[in-house]
């Protein structure tokens, strides 16, 4: 929005006017007579053009280039006048932007260093549980709705269970549902997110290759037959190399950044005026970190 306002010609005009007259009055004749040059070197023009070309993916036309240069020169006038008035100071957007650039600088430093296999193996071993190939469950599912009353539903489910055990096909058994009839290779995480913790937990504990149930859930009653269960196992590096690499790099980057930041902080001492309303404790942060267990999404 700020950028937008800054582009409005009317705003420019008003601002320029205010700046010209205002600064003259504030700064007096000495400043007024100081000549100001805005030089646009060939390299500068080329880099302005390059940036704009990167947005449009094609070379600029002559007219466009001329606009870019004119815009830049006009913006530079405002920018310099603004700097002269100290408008960059105490501006939360400018401050944040500069801080962000600094963080990028600290963060970028080791981003490109490629970790060795040795490092990755060590990381994988140290965090084996995070990279587990998870347990997977494949099962057939028959749903019985409780819409007509739970007792009647239970009777129907039990009778259906008998039929399934006697060899009835599951493909057209039970009531309408939006859940799939066959689930293949589902993880605990997936089942919990979609079916709820209780049903997921029951599913993970029914014996394989036999019809089980009825299991009650918030949706209704379920009859299930697990036909494949693959236990969790630890991964080989080659199976999870990219994930391990990404986590390893991320952690290394965060650590390096924190260390660099700490080193910079050592160069400063923070002195807070004792008359400030802060009281005696200069310790940030204001809000204590606390664990919020979040339910749902």
């Amino acid at each position: 929005m700020i950028g937008r306002v800054a582009k409005e010609p009317l705003v420019h005009f008003a601002l320029l006017g205010a700046l010209v007259f205002g600064t003259q009055r504030w700064l007096g004749d000495a400043e007024k007579s100081a000549p100001s040059h805005i030089e646009l070197s060939e390299a500068r023009v080329a880099s302005l053009a390059a940036e704009r070309e990167l947005t449009w993916g094609r070379p600029l036309t002559k007219a466009e280039l001329s606009d870019v240069v004119k815009d830049y020169a006009r913006d530079e006038v405002l920018y310099r006048e603004g700097l002269r008035l100290g408008l960059d100071r105490d501006d939360v957007v400018v401050r944040n932007r500069v801080k962000q650039k600094m963080e990028f600088l600290l963060d970028q430093r080791i981003a490109d260093a490629e970790p060795t296999d040795h490092e990755l193996r060590g990381y994988l071993a140290a965090h084996a549980e995070r990279f587990l190939v998870p347990e997977r469950l494949s099962f057939e599912h028959v749903f019985v709705s409780v819409a007509g009353g739970s007792e009647q539903a239970m009777r129907r489910a039990l009778s259906l269970l008998g039929e399934l055990e006697a060899g009835r096909s599951a493909s057209d058994a039970g009531d309408a549902t939006l859940w799939p009839r066959r689930w293949v290779g589902a993880t605990k995480e997936e089942l919990e997110a979609r079916l709820g913790n209780e049903l997921a937990d029951r599913l993970l504990h029914v014996p394989a290759n036999a019809w089980a149930g009825p299991i009650a859930s918030p949706f209704g009653l379920h009859l299930v037959r697990v036909f494949e269960k693959v236990s969790a196992r630890s991964a080989e590096l080659d199976q999870v190399r990219d994930v391990v690499r990404s986590d390893f790099q991320g952690e290394r980057r965060r650590r390096a950044k924190a260390a660099a930041l700490a080193e910079l902080e050592e160069r400063y001492s923070v002195i807070i005026d004792s008359s400030a309303a802060l009281g005696a404790a200069p310790e940030a942060p204001v809000t204590q970190a606390r664990d919020v267990a979040l339910k749902g999404d």
Partner: protein, 638 residues
């Protein structure tokens, strides 16, 4: 790199459905009947995917981090990387210092920081010969690539030299600048886990025309960094006209061979401009304009933290369930007040109706929008539920005072904290959790918006659904076999037949029972006048709840105890399925149909805050809500 990664994850995940074979599977193209029922048009498909979608993937198509200038200025410190980690279920420390973790991870995320702030920064680029010609820079570069202490030392040396103005001139040259964008795309590629968690490369183009008329669009990339980096995102410094954004998208696709789509949002804050019946420059809408808009904008955000843009009770004056539901109608984004006549060009339902008119007059429908939901959170935390609402800005993160503070303030015009909406998410019916599969599903509009809960919703349209189809044990199989899914199109009804819809919903496993499913129909009559009507298609407690003599279904009731912020699932139904036939169908009239699914009343986030912080809120503050889902429409063309 990506190949090996996706091969591994795909092998592991193999999707929960659709890989097992056997006759209980959703049909493969080979199994689909050769001759489709007459009048049924297949939804357009990006790739001609071999399987039908068996599973809904949950995500947020609209999230800001500290890298957005406004979010950073408001105290957001989380990076896109933090935002992704939170969305996929990891614990992060919020900008206000609170530890936060989603109990249930999302399946995908689009981090959409504003393109306007994404400038360029200077840095040493690895292996750049011009830079490395400088011996000092060369040494730094080598040290940096060694990592660890050497890298840190080099950085510190650089900082010190800079302080003394001894920095080698070469590295301050603008041409060595690297954009924030490239950094963003690197994070998205690195944290992409095909088959498990999808990160989209994305940005928001934030056009505030005329001082706050919200014409914002989220641009979502189907492709990875290699293509995304070939051009910088479009900014509003270039243009505020959406047509120029579409031109940019077209140029990008042409250059890279990749694919993009844009999602407009917050028509409710556009002061009559989001769905106006002229172009941005006030010219009449032409067929070319309509085709371009429909091509680039298949979806629209129906709900987010700044209210819903689906319908307004003043426009839909017989729609009782639209009344008082998360309405932000006082002004535009700068709270410049609305004038009479603006509302009708701000809401999706009205736009869908006007789209039919424009289709009739120009030959193409510019407003052929499917529906998605996002948070638009500006603190990097996609927490859209009532009981975990983490606010829009950092100042709105959980605190006892947040309900009564000013969320937005322009002079005397204020939006209060309690008016924030804890919403929303998008459900995508896709064949697998990859950028390609999810994006293709978004492009064909097989999506729906929710106010937060993960309600499962299916919606199929055709001419041959019968009541028996709602009784089969896998309704999706029948749905794809005999019709088109949400987002699809029906044409030329066979003589004597009306559109039939196979539809259903299942409650969120951790949420509330369902009140009802409604079909929202919009159409134009022979005189070129638009109409709408909301039908109750199927509802909970049907054994004791029936429409009265005038056809009005009694309310479902409420089990909410505001004081303890709790409710019970003793009313409503966990699942609703039916086949609904349009009772007022006229084969000569253009129409659209979409679903609105309603939960039973539950505590609003304000009630959870009141109970947790033991605060008493003003009478105006709503303490209960009826959460809902909106599907993409199915259109009928004579």
């Amino acid at each position: 790199m990506q190949c090996s990664r996706s091969a591994f994850w795909l092998g592991m995940v193999a999707a929960m459905v659709g890989c097992g074979g056997g006759k209980s599977q959703a049909p493969s193209p080979a199994q689909l009947p050769e001759a489709r029922p007459s009048g049924v048009v297949q939804a357009e498909s990006g790739t001609g995917r071999p399987r039908t979608p068996g599973r809904v993937y949950w995500g947020d198509e609209h999230l800001h981090t500290g890298w957005s200038a406004d979010a950073g200025a408001a105290g957001a410190t989380l990076s896109p990387e933090d935002a992704v980690r939170f969305a996929r279920g990891e614990k992060v420390k919020s900008s206000s210092g609170q530890m936060a973790k989603l109990e249930r991870p999302l399946d995908w995320i689009a981090v959409t920081d504003h393109s306007d702030g994404m400038g360029v920064i200077n840095e040493i680029r690895k292996g750049n010969p011009e830079l490395l010609a400088d011996p000092v820079v060369k040494r730094w570069s080598e040290d940096i690539n060694k990592g660890g202490d050497a890298a840190k030392k080099a950085t510190m040396e650089m900082i010190s030299l800079q302080a003394n103005k001894q920095l080698p001139k070469v590295i301050t040259e603008p041409k060595f600048a690297k954009s924030v964008w490239e950094k963003n795309t690197a994070i998205m590629d690195e944290s992409y886990r095909p088959g498990r968690f999808t990160t989209f490369i994305a940005y928001e183009w934030t056009s505030n025309a005329g001082g706050g008329d919200n014409l914002h669009r989220n641009v979502i990339y189907r492709d990875g960094k290699d293509k995304a980096d070939q051009m910088l995102p479009m900014t509003t410094f270039e243009s505020e006209n959406p047509e120029d954004l579409w031109k940019w998208m077209s140029a990008w696709e042409k250059k890279t061979g990749g694919k993009l789509l844009a999602i407009p949002h917050n028509g409710n804050l556009s002061n009559g401009r989001m769905f106006e019946l002229t172009t941005f420059e006030g010219k009449p809408i032409t067929k070319e304009y309509a085709e371009e808009r429909a091509r680039w904008e298949p979806l629209c955000e129906a709900i987010q933290m700044k209210g819903q843009s689906e319908s307004h009770p003043k426009l839909s004056n017989t729609d009782e369930l639209a009344v008082g539901y998360e309405i932000w109608d006082r002004g535009n984004l700068a709270l410049v007040p609305k004038k009479p006549g603006m509302l009708q060009y701000e809401y999706l339902r009205e736009a869908l109706k006007n789209g039919l008119l424009l289709a009739a007059s120009t030959g193409a429908n510019p407003f052929q929008y499917g529906m998605v939901g996002g948070t638009d959170a500006h603190n990097g935390l996609t927490a859209a539920e009532e009981d975990n609402f983490f606010g829009k800005f950092v100042s709105g993160e959980p605190r006892p005072e947040r309900w009564n503070e000013d969320a937005m303030k322009f002079g005397a015009r204020v939006v209060k904290g309690w008016e924030m909406t804890a919403a929303g998410y998008t459900g995508v019916w896709a064949t697998e959790n990859t950028r390609e599969a999810l994006w293709d599903a978004m492009k064909r509009r097989e999506t729906y918006a929710t106010s937060g809960p993960r309600i499962l919703v299916r919606f199929f349209g055709g001419f041959d659904f019968t009541e028996a189809d709602a009784k089969v044990s896998d309704i999706a199989y029948m749905g794809y076999r005999k019709g088109v899914p949400m987002g699809g199109q029906l044409q030329q009804a066979p003589a004597g037949k009306a559109p039939t819809f196979l539809l259903g919903a299942v409650m969120d496993a951790r949420g509330a029972n369902l009140d009802r499913i409604q079909v929202v129909k919009g159409w134009i009559d022979a005189q070129g006048k638009t109409h709408e009507k909301v039908f109750d298609a199927v509802w909970g407690d049907a054994e004791r709840r029936q429409p009265d003599k005038r056809g009005k279904l009694p309310p479902v009731g409420s089990t909410v105890d505001v004081a303890s912020a709790s409710f019970e699932n003793t009313i409503g139904d966990p699942q609703l399925v039916t086949v609904w036939t349009d009772p007022e169908f006229d084969a000569g009239q253009r129409a659209f149909y979409y679903l609105r699914v309603l939960e039973i009343p539950t505590p609003r986030w304000t009630a959870y805050d009141a109970a947790r912080y033991e605060v008493k809120m003003g009478k105006k503050v709503p303490m209960t809500t009826q959460e809902r889902a909106f599907t993409s429409p199915i259109w009928y063309t004579p």
